[in-house]
């Protein structure tokens, strides 16, 4: 009976020691885990701060405004090869001197001609002006 008690007591001691060791190991793991959580927290904080912060310096504002606008590359490529021909056609047909007697048409032609000269490298705008000339000046192309 006494021997059994000793064995039980020893078993309890061994179990206690095992628990203590396990707890010590866990404490060490927890420390690294908390460090990782803290790092993760800092990264998340910086990302959120970055998103919320609009960094509205003049330089950044200028940059953001420039990046907002859309670029029509199709028109640029088209204009690179076809704008000269269209411009030459329009500048002859829409010249104000072609309407010397009609004052109103002469004024419209002058405005259209100025726009044509201003947008001579922009096919999209030239086509719009061509349409305007057909409607307002009754020009046949």
């Amino acid at each position: 009976m006494k021997m059994n008690d000793t064995i039980i007591q020893d078993s309890i001691n061994v179990a206690e020691q095992t628990i203590i060791k396990a707890t010590e190991t866990n404490e060490s793991t927890n420390w690294w885990m908390w460090l990782a959580i803290a790092e993760f927290g800092i990264i998340i904080f910086l990302i959120i701060k970055e998103k919320l912060n609009n960094r509205s310096t003049a330089r950044q504002r200028f940059k953001n405004e420039s990046l907002k606008q859309d670029i029509d590359f199709d028109n640029i490529i088209n204009s690179s090869f076809n704008s000269i021909k269209l411009y030459d056609q329009l500048k002859v047909k829409c010249h104000p001197d072609r309407f010397p007697m009609e004052k109103e048409k002469n004024l419209i032609a002058e405005n259209i001609f100025q726009e044509i000269t201003k947008n001579k490298n922009n096919v999209k705008r030239l086509l719009e002006l061509k349409e305007e000339a057909i409607q307002k000046l009754n020009i046949n192309f």
Partner: protein
């Protein structure tokens, strides 16, 4: 200081992606126009070294040139290369975008040899002076 560094890192990645997108968009449009017969020559955009004397406040350190090269199709004359340059420089939105993304040189090249034209982008748009400490 840390915040500035962090912002610079984010800006660098963001600019890099925007620059690549600008080149890709141009190439897609050029390909589409060539296939449709709108353009007689296939144009291709790429990023080049650029001209160091054309630097401005937004300039990239290394690759600051936006190069457009004529490929397959008809060989372009110098006048046609100049005209392509003028069309691009007339588009103020594109010039502004090129400048803020770190480009300072626009190069238009033919298919063969090294002939071509080169433009200083800052000459075509008024750039405000920024205070770095603002």
């Amino acid at each position: 200081m840390f915040e500035n560094t962090w912002n610079n890192i984010i800006d660098w990645f963001s600019d890099r992606s925007e620059r690549a997108r600008l080149v890709r968009s141009f190439n897609q449009s050029a390909k589409k126009s060539f296939v449709a017969g709108i353009a007689p020559t296939l144009l291709k955009a790429s990023i080049s070294k650029g001209e160091s004397s054309y630097k401005h406040q937004f300039s990239n350190w290394l690759k600051s040139g936006y190069r457009i090269q004529a490929f397959t199709g008809r060989i372009l004359s110098k006048d046609e290369l100049i005209h392509i340059g003028k069309v691009i420089l007339d588009d103020s939105i594109l010039v502004r975008r090129l400048i803020v993304l770190g480009f300072d040189t626009l190069e238009i090249h033919g298919d063969a040899g090294t002939y071509g034209v080169r433009y200083q982008l800052k000459d075509y748009i008024p750039l405000p002076k920024f205070n770095e400490n603002e």
